[in-house]
């Protein structure tokens, strides 16, 4: 995949071996990239429609969070709030007393999942990247096959398994299965990074008398750090974005609920308090969103390295 990554400035930035090309000066924009005025207009119009589709739920959600309930449940519909107020952002802490805990739980579960996945995946990816042993290809294929089964399909036996392990209604009921379904793609992703590290380094360490474990710990790990960071971020996002079904089925204690399930309780009430639900959603995801804005290049790198070309 290296040739792919190199052309993407985003991916290039994460590997220290590749020098980031200097940004092209705008004045000397090549002729091929010049657009006629109507093309520019078309592009921006298209982008407007596209981004409207992608962002409208967030914009509308934000507007809703600013509207008092009485205005929310009134016709005719108006997109812009008439009397905008941030009341919902203060009231929600009373209506959902455990909101802070839900936000923390979401974060905590995703973090533990990420730690487990990294601990398990780093050695496994190294094994697949460096050693030729009988059945390696088959085993890698078997790992990838896990991706085909969603947690929802295996819910019944997983439920029985969690019950017999005594994990129901604990954090582990969400963490253990959550991590399992993220391991295979993480192995695949990290393996592509590790393959790029020259084998000669391992051999040099070997010749100098370093043990295999020492080589992995002191030679490979530091070099693989950018890749590990990408895998960790991808895993975290996966764990964070997909918290629903395990938390819905394997846990009924509200003190362990992650944000999405905690907010799902809103729907149980007689009248859904939409403005507070939206306000709580925004506050809940805000910390992670801010982090992601800064880390987005790693996300792009992770997505493209994992799949584009092998």
């Amino acid at each position: 995949m290296s040739d792919v990554a190199r052309t993407t400035e985003v991916a290039a930035a994460d590997s220290p071996a590749i020098v980031k090309p200097k940004r092209r000066v705008r004045a000397s924009k090549p002729m091929i990239d010049r657009y006629r005025w109507f093309e520019i207009l078309g592009l921006y119009a298209g982008l407007l429609v596209f981004l409207f589709f992608v962002l409208s739920p967030f914009i509308e959600g934000f507007m809703v969070s600013l509207k008092p309930l009485a205005q929310l449940f009134s016709t005719p519909y108006s997109f812009i709030p008439k009397r905008a107020s941030f009341d919902a952002y203060f009231q929600m802490w009373q209506s959902v007393p455990m909101l802070g805990l839900y936000i923390f739980n979401s974060f905590f579960i995703s973090t533990v999942v990420t730690l487990i996945v990294i601990a398990v995946v780093v050695p496994a990816a190294y094994a697949f990247a460096r050693f030729q042993f009988a059945g390696a290809g088959l085993m890698l294929g078997a790992f990838l096959a896990v991706n085909m089964f969603s947690g929802a399909v295996l819910l019944i036996p997983l439920f029985r398994l969690m019950r017999s392990m005594g994990l129901l209604n604990t954090y582990w009921a969400m963490i253990v299965p959550g991590a399992a379904f993220l391991i295979p793609s993480s192995i695949w992703l990290l393996r592509t990074y590790l393959i790029r590290i020259p084998k000669e380094l391992d051999e040099a360490a070997w010749v100098d008398g370093a043990s295999r474990l020492y080589t992995l710990r002191r030679v490979i790990l530091p070099l693989a750090m950018p890749g590990i960071v990408v895998v960790a971020i991808m895993t975290f996002i996966g764990a964070y974005a997909q918290q629903f079904i395990f938390a819905l089925t394997f846990n009924s204690k509200s003190e362990f609920m992650p944000l999405p399930i905690g907010l799902f309780a809103f729907f149980g009430k007689q009248e859904v308090v939409w403005n507070e639900l939206m306000a709580a959603s925004f506050v809940g995801v805000l910390p992670v969103m801010i982090v992601i804005v800064f880390l987005q290049r790693y996300l792009v790198a992770g997505l493209t390295a994992g799949a584009v070309k092998q």
């Binding site: 519909y77 896990v146 295996l154 019944i156 918290q243 629903f244 399930i261 809940g284 792009v300 799949a307």
Partner: protein, 295 residues
Amino acid sequence: MTSTRSATLFALALLAPALIYILTIVAYPLVDTFILSFTNAALRPDYDWVGWANYQRIFTAGNFTEVIIRTFIWTLLSVGMKMIIGMCGAVLLNAAIPGQALFRILTMPPWVVPMAIGIYMWSWMYNGQFGMISGLLQNFGFISRPVAWLAYGDTAFWATIVTDVWIGVPMVTIYFLAAMQSIPRDLHEAAWTDGAGRFYRFRRITLPLMVPAVLTMSLLSLISTFNSFDIIWILTQGGPSGSTTTMIIDTYKTAIGSRKYGEGAARAVVICIFVLTFCFVYFRAVRKLSQGEAK
């Protein structure tokens, strides 16, 4: 490095944690599903072997074939729309215009926000009386009366698809964008020198070279869409009157809702068989494709 026995042992030791983890949490439940599907397991601890009875029941009684067909239509529509919108998005984001970097960031939120939270927002937007979609369409005069999108079979079916597309589009777009950028620039420059227009270059250079990326993404999103649970469960719980009940919802209702573990397992097995078939077909397609290139 030497490929001695100790190296193999070391590799296996490195693999052991991942292997044990997956065997316990994925492989064992998978085997358990197959075994359960031949039993009448339910909430009570003991159960009996019933042979093919579960499979006989789901295929003869009820509307299982209807559910299968619905699942396929739902999945194909959703994947098709994801591919088309994703491709359009990638083309737009690939254009060298000011603001490009910002637009790329703005594409990502649906992917990184917890899915369920995005779906809550949609469920409000679909609200008939007060929701945005019905409201805006009325304001612009496209519809005369409020439409409760999730209350009718047809509209609920499409509404769940649109939300699924919305969640899937960012990933597809970014992926296609990366694939587009990996196309050697020389090709475009050569064609441009020869006077080929933008649209012609897209059709004759970009699209053909994107085929592998489109195939890969189609399979990935086919599998995830086929298994899509959260969206339908939060928006409609499979209703109204079963019009959005896909196989996965059907399985969940049988197994977790009605506590018929055995029958639910049989339904899950049917899902697994379909997913395996997709993968098999996909690998055949890829092999054919690479053979075609080799010629």
